[in-house]
Amino acid sequence: MSDASTPDSVEPDHEHEHRHEGPGYATPQAAIEEGEREKLAYVMSLYVGTDVDAPDFVSVVDLDPDSDTYCEIVDRIELPNRGDELHHFGWNACSSSCHMEGLERRHLIVPGQRSSRIHVLDAQDRRNPELETVIEPEEVFEYDLSAPHTVHCIPDGEILISMLGDADGELPGGFLELNEDFEIEGRWEPPGEIEMNYDYWYQPRQNVMVSSEWAAPETYYPGFDLEDVEAGNYGQRLHFWDWEAGTVEQTIDLGEEGLIPLEVRFLHTPESTHGFVGAALSSNIFHFWRDESAADGDGAYRAEKVIDFESREHDDWDMPVPALPTDILISMDDRYLFGSNWLHGEVWMYDISDPSNPRRADSLSVGGTFGEVQEVQDRELAAGPQMIQLSLDGERLYWTTSLFSSWDDQFYPEEAERGSVMLKADVDPRKGTMKLDEDFLVDWGECPAGPARAHEIRWPDGDCTSDVWQ
């Protein structure tokens, strides 16, 4: 019997029945126990913004050490158009629908950040997914939305996508809802709830969703400009939503130390109201939680800076180099917070057993501006660690190196010539340590049409950055 199906572990007002007949796992612990070792990865791969005459593609990477094609891209699903900038993607169903008999974790929803085109891939054959449906940009613009980002499924089979801009690439952004047939259902939230948008995560048992802020597409698309920071064009707020109503209940301004809050994660346990967000430009990590004893509100959310990465001096840079922590994730057992400092060249893990007081467990200095390891298997690393993904058992951390094509060109221009890599560290969760696996290297520099960038990573059967429990 799963944890969540134990009557004592269920809140009295929680009506969800814990029959596990649908996709995913009954609980986060079940994912750890029942999930197999990842043998394939889907990775966003892109040519947008380069002179290579080829569309972006989804890579299928062989992660099975016993396979003859280990560390190779064994399939590439080319999309129909150039110019998409594939970025983040998600499943049509995850563990939040574990009670939905007949629903499968089968379709990958793959948006183009620049094009606003949304692709649906049928991944029933895990090694050879096929393009099934394309929602063209014009259909998206009809809802005065553009720049699709985070894809999560809603527990009943529908899909919600955070959209960063309006049809003109300006503010406000919002959320686009797709139905189970992958047609646009409409705008999920009442227009005007937020201005900026980026990532989001929901905790349905607590009836809460949290969303973060990057900027208007017209601001971040061309590249990072300090003028935009000075003009207040970048975000620094978190929004806490009533998940059922789709309305913002509370907004927290993180201030100057919370500039550009990007990836936002609740702990996996559906009972928890704790989570973390990385403020990339300020190089800080914030902890947020619901303060039940808040005197000025009924269970208001609080946010507090808990990790601060100092800028570092470098001879080749005129000003101290910020760390730029661009991605974070929480291990499936909710014990560790992992992250990547893209500019410094570091992956790190903090013990978050006490989420208010993260304790630095270990880090790896690899790639980036300061990395102690600058090549793996004689392959020079063109950029720092960026998008990360962790095995369900928490023992293998993988990462790619591309952030966003135009930002890559500013900070690591050589990545356009060499392409991205995917690297791996072996993690010892018991001791809280990481070790770079120098036998592991996937190289996007050798793609047939030319060097490509690699971005977000997903496992075929659920992972630490997409599964939610109801």
């Binding site: 913004g49 380069t50 606003s116 940009p137 017209e218 590249g223 400009d225």
Partner: protein
């Protein structure tokens, strides 16, 4: 229908002259011609398709700012192209120095334009380096 000759110039020295109607964009005409130009949003928001105006036929060099080393002076870019929509990805300083969004720009004069992914990279540099 009036058309203009737009000469596209890549960093490796390749050039291609495309005849562009006044009601089509330079990107559309280049695609019909089989020329590969970078693009993204196709709505003027992302800047991926940025080109840089090098010369306008029939106009004397203006006193405008130079667009870059080795480039001819440019006259007001807004007189050379008509935009279907607002070129949101370009800041005033970009437009003043001759940058053009080819996905929404139609020519109003014969001209030469630097193209290729490196033009987009010129819009912003690393502010810390």
């Amino acid at each position: 229908m009036t058309s203009h000759d737009v000469t596209l110039e890549w960093p490796d020295g390749r050039t291609r002259t495309v005849e562009v109607d006044e009601n089509e964009t330079i990107l559309e005409a280049a695609e019909c011609d089989g020329s590969v130009l970078p693009y993204g949003c196709r709505t003027g928001a992302c800047g991926t398709c940025s080109g840089r105006l090098l010369e306008v036929e029939g106009t004397r060099p203006s006193n405008g700012e130079r667009a870059g080393d080795g480039d001819a002076d440019v006259c007001a870019v807004d007189d050379v192209v008509a935009y279907r929509r607002l070129p949101r990805a370009l800041k005033d300083r970009h437009r003043a120095t001759g940058y053009v969004l080819l996905c929404i720009a139609s020519p109003r004069a014969d001209c030469r334009i630097a193209v290729g992914s490196s033009v987009h990279s010129e819009l912003v540099d690393n502010p810390w380096k």
